[in-house]
């Protein structure tokens, strides 16, 4: 928990009201984003994203599995987030579980789309190897190493970067099999398939402090929030998911206003992130 004196609280709120935050940013400016890819060699894809003092790692692992009976033409994607106690002593033991679940659920909601798969960043149909029999199961793990607010945006960016970095081995299906038998598959060591990550949305969290809202809040600013709305938006400007945090009620018109602001901000964020990812990929290949 952030312990702030009344004066500090006043300073933060006053700064936000005057569009000049304590670290010199305007209300709708992000901190600088730093992306590094391929940080976990054992994973199929991984990335580390730093947003100011917030530091998160995302990794993607793929395992061959069986599609569920209800959706034989789709692979499965699961997202888990862990909050390491290194980020804050209160995450010790089971302390981080509540926040971890909240973040996992929010990310699943924002990145995986509806039940039918519409609006998903990664098309689950592209994970199928043999319909109804073999598919890839993607496990996306997020780890919060250092926390200074705005974890959700950072995690979503890290997942986007990790997925761009992901290569799934090419799979050859040996022979046609009949009935319920599982077909034999060969996993190639050399050929890898890349995902099309252009459709993966970014998450923009707007934190309401006083009468104004800000993007990319630090943990001091988050402690002053009355509510926050996280909106995931893709390249096309469509909303792919939304969650609200914080107890205070919001007027419906304000929410619609927030959505249009978030759309505007997301364009800049997407461009910035894409160029950062490209730069990180380039330096990863060099080394």
């Amino acid at each position: 928990m952030v312990g702030l004196s009344a004066g500090e609280k006043h300073f933060i709120q006053g700064g936000i009201a005057q569009d000049l935050r304590s670290d010199g940013r305007k209300r709708l400016t992000y901190r600088s984003i730093y992306v590094e890819t391929g940080v976990i060699p054992q994973a199929h894809g991984s990335a580390r994203v730093r947003l100011g003092a917030t530091d998160v790692i995302a990794s993607v692992k793929a395992e061959l599995g069986r599609p569920s009976g209800l959706q034989p033409d789709k692979g499965k994607i699961a997202i888990f987030v862990d909050c390491s106690p290194t980020a804050a002593p209160m995450f010790e033991g089971r302390g981080g579980e509540e926040l971890s679940t909240e973040l996992s659920v929010a990310l699943q909601r924002c990145l995986l789309g509806g039940k039918s798969g519409a609006g998903a960043g990664i098309d689950p149909a592209s994970l199928v190897v043999v319909e109804g029999k073999v598919c890839w199961d993607l496990y996306i793990d997020g780890l919060v190493i250092s926390s200074d607010g705005n974890l959700l945006d950072a995690l979503a960016a890290a997942i986007k970067a990790a997925l761009s970095n992901t290569g799934i081995p090419k799979v050859d299906v040996a022979a046609e099999t009949t009935g319920d038998e599982q077909p034999e598959v060969n996993i190639s060591d050399e050929e890898f398939l890349q995902f099309d990550t252009s459709g993966i949305p970014v998450i923009v969290t707007l934190t309401k402090v006083g009468r104004h809202y800000i993007v990319d809040a630090t943990s001091e600013e988050e402690s002053q929030m009355s509510s926050a709305v996280s909106i995931s938006i893709n390249r096309k400007g469509h909303i792919c998911g939304l969650t609200k945090r914080g107890g205070a009620g919001l007027d419906p018109s304000i929410i619609l206003d927030m959505i249009s602001v978030a759309k505007h901000v997301s364009e800049q964020l997407l461009n910035k992130l894409d160029s950062e990812i490209a730069a990180a990929e380039a330096s990863d290949e060099e080394s």
Partner: protein
Amino acid sequence: MEYVSPEGLLLDGRRPMEMRQLRAEIGTVAKADGSAVFEMGNTKVIAAVYGPREVQNRSQQMSDQALVRCEYSMANFSTGDRMRKPKGDRRSTEISLVIRQTMEACILTHLMPRSQIDIFVQVLQADVGTRSACINAASLALADAGIPMRDIVTSCSAGYLNSTPLLDLNYVEDSAGGADVTVGILPKLDKVTLLQMDAKLPLDIFENVMGLAIEGCKAVANYIREILLENTKQLEYRRGL
């Protein structure tokens, strides 16, 4: 299987007396009082230190010394197979205990009565020797946090395979099932604070292997000292000294 080639080289091209590559970085977790990343070959851990601070649980407060606590956790993606283990399984409890006891031995706890020091270690990649890597990372993080210590604890392991003592085993070598000796020392005082071995070894060979591990610890100590010195220079530079 041959783990040591006739030329005396190991499978990954190291010599038996050669350590895996070391890399360390100080101050990765901005919010912590002290933090460090430590890599030994493919093993990579982050340690963060919070404290000395007020004791959270009053009943654990000690009036004559500081309370040292440690939690070890592994990231889901740290091992080859993705795992999702609940926190606080037996292995991590045991390692937490080992790290806590080792660090407690070198911290001058009597200087900070009625306070608490938390050490959190997070394994990002687990190869072999997470224990050693964790202790080294924790040492660096404690030093970064400016916590008074008798000396820097460093740790390293050594093994015995194909009748050759090997320094700092890697995954393939470790899974071959030979003996594995993990040693932690206080290099300046030349004292051993941690010694763990599974499997059995003849006594004369054990001495050899342990000697090798201690040499490894000293090498780690030199490296850690360099890193700390470098870090201090940076700090001085930033303060304009």
